[in-house]
């Protein structure tokens, strides 16, 4: 273990609940990467004889209306969950962080950009995502973009707030007065000091992206139906809820556990953070 990771692990050791969340996330990552080797049946394999069968030794989580193995599909679903999460977080950071930093460093530009962020925030987030999906078309990438646009605004706001404070720091002023270029200040002073608030924001965005993607899937506007995502599994099994209530249980539980774990980790990281930045990061995320 390298020295720099040491405090990180010590910290999680002192927060058992957050540690459980972290362990769960590692399990999900392993499940997603090793899905091919882990699942007992291919996720698309149809067994019409066994349709809607309850959980058993052969089918741990039961089977759906085509007789497909729910356990295998749930494991495969973790791939899409991670893809959506990583995609949305990357998009939100890649767009929100530059907007926030530039707005703080160049107040005139900032007034325009932050005004635009305000306008975007006036739109109800789920409706905005739905509208974008309809314009862009239905696909996994577009689901990521649509949800990512929603969190672009919150990420830009937080980065802006943090940057405004960092700009006033003595070491930033000192660097600027000694002739350091803006790029240098951003790279050497602003970004490194932003890592922990952005990490907290990223974990909350990751969590809410799961719920947003599930809602889109449920409304039939998320991942294309042939992809086994947890939200699609719920949407497809919805009409069988009285005949096979277990069908909806496991995919839903996976969404809950994933979002919950990320929230736990985010919360723990926030508690450890510089108190000046803590107040900017509400667990609102929507």
């Amino acid at each position: 273990m390298t020295r720099s990771l040491r405090p990180f692990f010590d910290f999680f050791a002192s927060r058992p609940v957050a540690l459980i969340g972290l362990v769960y996330l590692v399990v999900i990552i392993v499940a997603a990467l090793g899905a091919n080797a882990l699942v007992p049946y291919p996720p698309e394999q149809i067994e019409p004889v066994n349709r809607l069968s309850p959980p058993s030794w052969e089918h741990w989580f039961g089977t759906d209306h085509f007789g497909r193995d729910t356990f295998s599909r749930v494991i495969y679903g973790s791939r899409l969950a991670l893809l959506i999460g990583v995609g949305v977080v990357s998009f939100a950071l890649a767009t929100g962080v530059p907007i926030g930093i530039l707005s703080a460093l160049f107040p005139r530009l900032g007034r325009v950009l932050m005004r635009m962020v305000d306008v975007m925030m006036a739109f109800p987030s789920l409706l905005m995502a739905l509208g974008l999906i309809v314009i862009l078309g239905q696909s996994v990438v577009n689901a990521i973009l649509a949800i990512g646009m929603v969190y672009l605004t919150t990420t830009a706001r937080i980065t802006y707030g943090v940057s405004l404070r960092l700009r006033e720091e003595t070491y930033v002023e000192a660097a600027s007065s000694m002739g350091a270029s803006t790029l240098w200040v951003i790279r050497k002073h602003m970004l490194p000091n932003m890592i922990s608030p952005l990490l907290v924001q990223a974990s909350f965005v990751f969590a809410f992206a799961q719920l947003g993607a599930a809602s889109l899937d449920f409304l039939g506007l998320g991942a294309p139906p042939e992809i086994p995502s947890w939200g699609n599994m719920l949407a497809e099994s919805r009409i069988y809820i009285t005949r096979a209530p277990w069908l909806l249980f496991y995919p839903g539980l996976m969404i809950v556990l994933t979002a919950f774990s990320l929230n736990l980790v985010g919360d723990a990281l926030r508690d450890r953070m510089d108190p000046r930045f803590r107040e900017m990061l509400g667990n609102k995320g929507r």
Binding site: V119, I135, I255
Partner: protein, 315 residues
């Protein structure tokens, strides 16, 4: 104060104007020609052109925009392509369901979120606090439709206590007892939002508890209970009450999924269906109204905040 109100109102109007442009552009980016949606694929080119001219869709976009805004200012949001009815009429039809659902949900949020948040804060650091905060975080991590589906399974399909879907107006037969149709949807919608209010109440109480005047009150020998109710709670609720405004505005649009699960005739479900039907005027109208509602509530919250808390600077 007056200057402050005028400035904030001006800013809100500017945001609204910008939002209207964004809505207009977005709507016209939606692929698919509404004329074909209306007439079907077998329409002759002459019919298509005639209707296009009649609806004004053949004019340039800026002209169409100003035409639309001009009508909106006169209270005319256009005519639904699908229903052939005024959009205002359609919004009013859905408004009862949406507003009542949001109101009942707000009642749950206030009744559950605030007292439990106060309890967690007064037991700060104990297992009660940790347990309640954990439950709140769990509730905020659950997809609402999942909760809704299982509530339907338990209380409607299995026990038969409550209806599973639909909502007849309280003005129709059944009267006020029709509110029982909103019980399960409102609980579904309340769960994650009550959790957020709980966390906010708790955090806000803990913040205020650090203030000097709280320490002074304690050292004066005021009973701890009274310090909590008089000094901490009163000030902490300021932030919480202002969050109620945003929550209410958010509930109208967040209800999209819940309205779909429970087949409620609200505004949210109307938007989703209109998006799928390419019913431009309805989408435009509803989103404009929701954005407007959000901005008005935002404005009222900001202004009342400065009335309630004179310490807040007037910039």
């Amino acid at each position: 104060m007056l200057i402050y109100i005028l400035r904030r109102t001006g800013a809100a109007l500017a945001t609204l104007a910008a939002a209207s442009v964004v809505i207009f552009i977005f709507i016209h980016l939606i692929p698919g020609d509404p004329i074909y949606v209306m007439l079907g694929d077998e329409a002759t080119p002459e019919q298509v052109e005639a209707l296009r001219t009649r609806l004004g869709l053949d004019r340039s976009l800026p002209v169409q925009y100003f035409y639309w805004v001009g009508n909106v200012l006169q209270g005319d949001l256009g005519t639904s392509i699908f229903f052939q009815e005024p959009v205002t009429r359609i919004i009013l039809d859905g408004a009862e369901t949406s507003l009542l659902l949001a109101t009942v949900t707000m009642v749950w949020i206030v009744l559950l979120g605030v007292p439990v948040g106060v309890l967690a804060a007064t037991r700060h650091g104990t297992w009660i606090d940790q347990g309640l905060s954990g439950v709140a975080m769990l509730l905020a991590s659950i997809p609402t439709f999942w909760v809704g589906l299982y509530l339907i399974l338990i209380f409607a399909a299995t026990l038969g206590w409550l209806p599973s879907s639909g909502y007849p107006s309280v003005f129709e037969e059944g009267g006020i007892s029709n509110l029982r149709y909103l019980l399960l949807p409102s609980l579904t919608l309340a769960a994650p939002n009550a959790a957020l209010i709980l966390r906010l109440t708790r955090a806000s109480m803990l913040d205020v508890a650090k203030e000097d005047y709280v320490r002074t009150a304690r050292s004066k020998g005021i009973r701890p209970r009274r310090v909590v109710t008089r000094h901490i709670l009163r000030n902490a609720l300021l932030a919480v009450v202002s969050a109620f405004g945003f929550t209410f505005a958010a509930l109208i649009s967040e209800a999209v999924v819940t309205e779909t699960v429970f087949a409620l005739p609200g505004i949210g479900r109307m938007v989703v269906q209109s998006i799928l039907r390419r019913d431009y005027p309805v989408i435009q109208g509803v989103i404009l109204v929701i954005v407007c509602l959000y901005l008005v509530i935002n404005l009222l919250v900001d202004i009342s905040y400065r009335f309630l808390d004179p310490r807040v600077e007037l910039e």
